[in-house]
Amino acid sequence: MFNNMSYETLQAYWWIIVSLLAALFVFLMFVQGGQTLLKQLSKTDMERSLLVNSIGRKWDLTFTTLVTFGGAFFASFPLFYSTSFGGAYWVWTLILFSFIIQAVSYEYRTKASNFLGRKTYDTFLFINGVLAPVLVGAAVGTFFTGSAFSVDRMNITNIADPVISRWETATHGLEAALNITNLSLGLALLFLSRVLAMLYFINNIDNENIIKRSAKKLKLCSSAFLVFFLLFVGLILTKEGFAVDPDTKLVFMEKFKYLHNLIEMPIVLVLFLIGVVGVLYGIFLGAFKTSPKGIWFAGTGTVLTVLAVLMLAGFNNTAFYPSTFDLQSSLTIENASSSKYTLTAMSWVSLLVPVVIAYIWYAWKSLSKNKVSEADIENDSMKY
């Protein structure tokens, strides 16, 4: 099956896989959104405990998706991995730093002798909740706005200075957060993660007060999300984009490139529209009907929308990681990818992904048969 695929098809297949992992990660960032809402949605310790335990059983899944995304991106597009992580050093380091402090916080926050105290761990959760979506958004925004770097693979023959990828700003990635397009995506993700968190709480927690507060807060939060999301979409669809000449492989600026991509790839347009409608319908269900189904519509919608946005960045002769410093250093799914052999081998492994999703689904289902309630966690010696 994969052995007969062309190199181009394999590269496209892996762009979709990596995009899908990114899309699932964005959806699962409802955990981060929830971490920013612990104070606002709870009035008592018990209510806060319900919130923490509800997202606490999912945080590792979000975390694992991020790690797998990193590994899969490395395996399929190593030039991106080496250029972006080694170049935009500070933005990625801060993202990872926020995940490090998150990883211990659930487990340690209520344990005896936990050294830093519950408040500190809850602050860690809050920091991760804000930083992760904003900075991930800013970093992904550069897929459309570009970064200042240069790449010269043959530099390894320069014994005195064998540097392949060179970042050309001293801020090493932090500059991404100052760009209005990147920042609007970051803030859109922040509010989206909060929206998804509230829809998840409505679905997962058996507590009148929390559900009511979530439904109420959803309205304001969704409006903020929509403002930043529409701003981001408006900006990228009207901006010049980084196009690749299919014959010469030269990168050039094309007006309305991403709008063209959307029109020239109707499947992406359809995915995008279904996705956005799904998110909106999910919000409606949660905010106005306090329906537990909101998370499923909004979650699926989120995955489809992110998938579509990343396809806009990578397909249809577009440079997915453009360089504003040296246009020809821009990364495309063609010049940044692994060899055909490696992509083929990895594609066989990817066949196991549905199995993975199936057991995650099964485990998730069997754990959530009963909603998270006071009685539920009072009897649980493993609670956070």
Partner: protein, 509 residues
């Protein structure tokens, strides 16, 4: 390598060493304890004896505390290859990325999904599914070790790969050569079995403390019995896989072996330095202590008469044994690098003939490619004393563990443990020895292979990201401070949880 930014290489290495050594405090306990928890969970499932449930829950809780910080320190490693080793990530990403991705897809999800079921499944899922989840966690975590160790083994023994001059990188040509190389198999077996020793020592240490305090006697005795059996099997296995690993190193990384043994002048019937000290001489008279005659030749080549090359042979060459000097290899390396550059230029100019002749020249000299970046002979020698002492202390501790587990097992069966305060006190502290041994193991593996990230092909100096030293220093101290604070928190929480003991820790049973 004075032309590279030495400070940058050193700080990048320091950061990797820091994060890896911290991560490795937690991983072996996760790998080992996960199986011990799964065993206990199975006993509970089979017998429905509440005492097993209490035990399972107690160890599971400690497992969870340790697991969280293992995950926290692990995420940075997944991305650090890109963050600090950008050149490396492109030059070998085609091979190295795959095991990392597979680790995520196959192992991490298995681990993280079922860990949630394992912790929160009590009373929520069926007893059978719950028990199986504990096994999935154990398999998942050990499977993740498999893939990352395959990746590491490939750096030490880069098989199944070919340099593609057009993309200027190494590309995979045979996945199974990479995944099933002898180096990978030995490394995996040696590392996980050693992790089981840590798991066993941890259980023994905690249980011995209970016995000394005269608390939870039945619980502690049962735990020690299980751990002693598990530990004894693991420690014997570690000795065998360690021997196989040394054999592999002798063939693939002779300089590492020379450093491990402090062998400067190669010889036939080479002695194994068993116990003693190194002086600062650069010949074989530098060792003072007990020697085991011909044992090094036997260990390295399964032949008492075999010649084992020393540091000096590998640096200066040894014609009789067909060993090229570092200088010759540097010369050939520079030819390969220049030929690659000329090939590219010729190809650009459309001069096929010149391109082909340069390609041939490049391929002929490629085995020495990495040497081309060095200037001095000494650049190819790792830190000998650090490697030597790390290796010898590790081996001594390994042998001690076999005897220790055997004694404990005997005392457990004869039910003589409770009275023997001396053995119990040693047992409490034994876990520290376990950690020392396991961290030293990584120092042997990683310091001993210097100056290479990829053996003979890519030096550490050519692997780094182009960053300012200040940036790397800053993140180094960020991670150092954070990890240290988190480690203190973890130890305090573990101690408090252990003091509470199984009944309270397990609650409502």
């Amino acid at each position: 390598m004075e032309h590279f930014d030495l400070a940058l290489v050193d700080w990048s290495r320091a950061q990797f060493a820091l994060t890896a050594l911290y991560h490795w405090i937690f991983v072996p306990l996760t790998l080992g304890l996960s199986f011990i928890v799964a065993f206990m969970h199975t006993f509970y499932y089979k017998t429905r004896d509440e005492k097993w449930k209490v035990m399972t829950k107690f160890w599971m809780k400690l497992f969870g505390i340790n697991f969280a910080i293992g995950v926290a320190t692990g995420i940075i490693l997944e991305f650090e290859f890109g963050l600090n080793w950008s050149n490396y990530s492109w030059i070998v990403g085609d091979i190295f990325g795959a095991p990392l991705a597979i680790e995520g897809i196959l192992a991490f999800f298995l681990e993280s999904t079922f860990i949630a079921v394992m912790f929160f499944g009590w009373g929520r899922v069926s007893k059978k599914f719950h028990m199986l989840s504990s096994w999935f966690v154990a398999f998942g975590s050990n499977l993740s070790a498999l893939w990352i160790l395959i990746a590491n083994a490939w750096m030490q023994n880069p098989v199944g790969t070919k340099f593609n001059p057009d993309t200027a990188r190494n590309e995979m040509v045979n996945f199974f050569d990479v995944a099933l190389s002898q180096t990978a198999v030995f490394k995996f077996l040696h590392t996980i079995s050693q992790a089981y020793i840590i798991g066993a020592l941890f259980v023994i240490s905690v249980s011995a403390w209970f016995l000394l305090k005269n608390r939870h006697l039945l619980f502690a005795k049962r735990s020690i019995l299980i751990a002693a059996v598990f530990g004894l099997i693991a420690s014997i296995f570690v000795a065998f896989t360690g021997d196989s690993s040394a054999y592999d190193v002798a063939h693939k990384q002779p300089m590492k072996l020379a450093a491990m043994e402090g062998l400067y002048d190669g010889e036939k019937n080479a002695d194994l330095y068993a116990l003693g000290f190194l002086n600062d001489r650069t010949d074989n008279l530098n060792f003072k202590g007990i020697r085991l005659p011909s044992m090094l030749s036997i260990m390295a080549f399964r032949d008492a008469d075999a010649f084992v090359p020393g540091v000096n042979d590998l640096v200066n060459g040894n014609e009789e044994q067909g060993i090229l000097s570092a200088e010759t290899r540097m010369e050939k390396g520079r030819i390969a690098i220049q030929a690659l550059a000329d090939y590219k230029t010729a190809k650009k100019d459309g001069n096929t003939e010149l391109a082909n002749s340069n390609l041939k020249l490049f391929e002929k000299n490629y085995p020495h490619f990495g040497y081309g970046y060095f200037k001095n002979n000494e650049d190819i020698v790792p830190n000998v004393p650090l490697t030597f002492y790390s290796f010898h202390i590790m081996v001594a501790l390994g042998l001690f563990f076999i005897a220790f587990f055997a004694c404990l097992l005997y005392a457990s069966i004869k039910d003589k443990l409770v009275k023997n305060k001396f053995v119990l006190r040693i047992s409490v502290w034994s876990i520290l020895l376990g950690y020392i041994a396991t961290e030293l193991g990584w120092i042997v593996a990683e310091v001993g292979r210097q100056p290479w990230t990829i053996q003979d092909l890519l030096p550490v100096g050519v692997s780094t990201s182009h960053l300012s030293v200040g940036s790397v220093q800053t993140t180094f101290f960020m991670f150092f401070a954070l990890f240290t604070v988190l480690l203190i928190a973890e130890i305090k929480i573990l101690m408090a949880q252990i003091k509470k003991g199984p009944e309270e820790g397990g609650s409502h049973v």
